[in-house]
Subunit: 253 residues, 6 copies
């Protein structure tokens, strides 16, 4: 017995990056994970938010949105409703935290990186695909600053990627598509670094509380998936990836 | 002496349609006009706005938005500001009016077509490209209703497309790119039908009022451009296009 | 066969200006075009919007609103709904563009003119009446700066006025009242200068696309009407009007 | 020693009503109290707010707004700020309460009267002028329902009018203009009926607490002024006024 | 015949202050008047609103809110609705005015006192309880500045307290609870100082206009109640209260 | 070496419940965890949100807010800003999910439980204290429905409580106070049931990614703390607690 799309339980969907898809942005990528498709742009702005002024450090902000017809049923735009929904704000905070965890904000200088993740088509895992893609766009943007001599090095401690795991029909599985996600008993998103450390774990058993043992199995499966994703990121970035964590003080983890 | 991108004054940029780029939408197209790139989806909803309830007719609504980094300088999202800007609302009304002008709303039944135009990259002419692409996505959506037997015919009177013309450095030219547009003395958007009638003319000489003679020349140039665009639309739609204006009472114009 | 209110097709409604109706405003006028009645005030503010700071030029902003019972059915106030509607924003931009096209913003200095058009009663043509009246209020405000010695000259290149034309029951006519406007096949607003040049043309055939020939006839009719309006403006302004376009570099058109 | 505008301390400004100034509204009046000028329209709507549905009674809602240049310094529109200010909301509630106090809401039927008070020019006392004018517009609107046979009688218990009193430079005075109001130690608004009863008293000594004796004197002065205003209202309404409080059960006070 | 809760008509409910209930605020009190319960905190901020910058004086702002279930029927939060209701704004302005009337803003220095009144349980009289409690929290906050040597004296002219009076079933009574208030013919809120002067009177006879004689009786009853409240405030503040109005120039009233 | 407040690393702060603190709410509790203090009310409403109408089940919604001075620096109210912040929305969703995970929504009937958590004073762990307290208020509200015979049983599967764990100065510790939380390298919130299953895990290492081993230790410590909390909840609820999970179909976990 296998999954809706014939995958094995521990198999993730095909992952594809298309870089430099925007002629204005300092970094950009189109990430496809199965039928989940996200455009990510990274914008460099030469100032920081008010609360950081004069502290000689940078900042990274994530924004996330879905096109109205990214989903099976058309969604009303946030701009039409006049307010951003709770789910969207939660994901924006999630993306920003993840990226900041691997960047040396002191060495970024008084700059803000705006990471815009716009979901063109949603088939589960949009927030984790956003982080995985955002890492590539962010590194490209930072590399453009390095290439121009504005930064001495690429101020990134480590690779970072994310995936989802969950329990569906009492079966633990990796990288849930929308149909699986919508009837999952447990849903967990995991963000990890290239060195195998955990940046964020968010597991919810709204439909059914879960045991420590199940949690352990899900984490192991997520780790397995994220290692594969980071391998693909490394191939995609090539030499630029080799500069990551080269000369800056290495952050713990 | 020629233009920034080596075009002739009466030459439009390369136009390309990629259809069915969204697996959920009833109709969808990715339109590229030079470096201007727009995703258009057409959604069929089985109800009409409040003001049309019980009147036994349909409706078409256009929505328009730009991704934050569609432009050289990143724009703050409308959802973050909590209100939709005047320019956006103006374009949304413009798109809806244009499409409604060639659709037999009575034969559409009590349905709304939501036409979402999301600009991925903006290099001038985003509102006219939106209309040109929206026509394709809309026809595809209506054809899907026809194919399923929900509509007896495709309730469209005529083809419709749009382009911009303007006066830059005292020279009348077709299909302005952003650099031309931003220093144009006169800027005009024209929407026309396959039969060569005018649906909308919007000409502004904020930088410099213009003469009737100049207006005439611009209209002739726009007509020339729109005919070429409609030819490409016809090739793209093939047989589906042949069903347009086949059996319904022909609207005047 | 004539019109609802017995006018000829090329006849505009009676036009009346009452100036200085507000004791605080630098310029003000009550304009009546038939039953369409608009209060316009022109306010001088000694600063410019953020995007113009330090560029040594002025700015003109138009605002437009209707009292709730300006129309047959009472409208909910924009302030109650918490957002300004698309139609209102479109008209505000339209008014600002028109006025800026005849003013030498460099010679205005770092000042903003706020042009407030508040419709007391609406019977068609409120946006064109607003522009026609705004020109008077604006010139009066600028004249008060000139009289006080703040400006050397009145920095206005030319007169400006606006009217509507349209096709109703297959008949082209001038200056549509509400009943005509609400069933027009084609609706066009035209803004022109004293020298007879076009500042803005906005023609829409949502109900029925129109031909180039019809467009030509409508433009000629609009031109005829606007010349009459500008004649009345000149009589109203008297000597102040003579100072317009006297000594500044003349703008093209 | 007399006042800025040469009035006696117990003298109110000239009061003038111009009725039926709006061709759509069921009742309308332009009220002028010195340089304070307000347009009031009364609109009849054939339904009541949600909280009164099915209770077989009517409702009266007051709305109040100032044109941007009603004041010496131009005000930003509430619609631009996206929210109605506290002062405006307070005055709207004040107007509604006052009018409801003299209307037999049961005999109004399931109807809402919308009373729109739009201040064209503000020179102190705009909220009291609004109430005084609103009474006239409301009675005219009710009379139109009576004339059409929709109401059996005009369901109004009594006349109502309002004025301001205050202490300026230690002197009690009636009907403060803006210059007096802005430096008043005590500011009081009083609403009273034709029978001399009090509907609302709002007295504030933010700049200086006041004694019971001063309160008494101010109330006597307000009573004196309101009686004069109601006399003018009676003359204005003529025979219509005679129908007020003719046959309905008389409310206490 | 007595009241719902067995009180005499001129008897107020038990009043209780619990001070210093918040470890962060410069001043705080939990005030209970019968079943009406309000948390008041006073916050000192070392800057003033924009309109007072550089004028060498301070400011006091009142904010008021009710927890959703402070009332019998749960209220939707203002933050959820996205706007503050008219009643809330009116009360906020009322609280700020009252407190400012007894404070020497010049001697406060360029500081803002934020007075937050959050109603935990509402049983009538929440706005007057807020003022009565706010006085205590404010004096404690000012005393903390005095104790630290930041202020030379406590810049307060006089005590201040508030209560409600009204006419219920034709009977004048003091300190209305919710059940009385909701069917009152007349409702009046009075704010007075320790010296017995009036700071604010707000009386409304929406259900029934009232006579001058009734007004007089209500004022006398309110005065009687407020004197008792101020007595309790004095006992509560003890020595700190003795410093009020000791050495500053005494304000009139 | 011990903690700021002398606790052991595995020691939680004193926990105290005060029930029935609101005379209107169906259930209410004042929960204190050290200096963190939250008022929780549970309101029963006899209808469900639109998306659940007619599905014969109930719903639970959590709302969360902080009083302006709950924190060291006063916060601007969400209602003043006109929008609810991302952190607040995230916590609201977190509370709702947690409570729904242990309630049999089918047996709740078409009712909504509104759980309002208002933070009076914040010293770290406000969201976990909210859940721990909300469980008590919710059970009391459900018990009141059971006592009145409206529900046959209390439709709750299990107890639920929450706490925080984290890594501060490289030391894993339980129940972080604000000073610990603000400099934590890793911060984790855990929600668990009486049977020891996990409902939600949210761990973030924004300052420093963490290892699987550290995650395991934190989970064990959280489990230890939550068992103690649930013991206190059981003592507090007494016999009512014994009815939990008595007769309904037991949910997995």
């Amino acid at each position: 017995m296998s999954r809706i799309d014939k995958r094995q339980y521990d198999q993730m969907r095909p992952l594809k990056f298309t870089r430099n898809i925007n002629k204005y942005a300092e970094g950009s990528v189109f990430i496809e994970t199965g039928d989940t498709k996200v455009i990510v742009t990274a914008t460099v702005e030469d100032k920081v938010p008010l609360f950081l002024r004069g502290q000689n450090q940078g900042w990274i902000t994530g924004e996330y949105s879905m096109l109205p017809r990214a989903t099976e049923i058309r969604n009303v735009r946030d701009s039409t409703r006049g307010r951003i929904g709770g789910r969207t704000l939660e994901i924006q905070r999630f993306i920003g935290r993840a990226l900041r965890s691997v960047v040396d904000l002191k060495n970024l200088g008084e700059r803000t990186l705006w990471i815009d993740c716009d979901v063109i088509q949603a088939d589960g895992g949009t927030r984790t695909a956003s982080i995985t893609g955002a890492f590539i766009a962010m590194v490209d943007a930072l590399n453009s600053l390095y290439t121009k001599g504005i930064l001495e090095k690429i101020p990134v401690y480590d690779f970072i990627a994310a995936t989802s795991v969950g329990i569906v029909d009492n079966q633990i599985m990796l990288d849930l598509c929308f149909q699986e996600d919508s009837r999952a008993q447990v849903d967990m998103n995991v963000v990890m670094t290239g060195r195998g450390n955990i940046v964020e774990v968010q597991g919810t058993g709204e439909q059914s509380p879960f045991t420590r043992e199940e949690l352990d199995k899900m984490l192991t499966l997520a780790e397995h998936g994220i290692q594969k994703i980071i391998q693909i990121q490394k191939e995609e970035l090539g030499e630029i990836g080799n500069m990551i964590s080269g000369g800056f003080s290495v952050k713990q983890g």
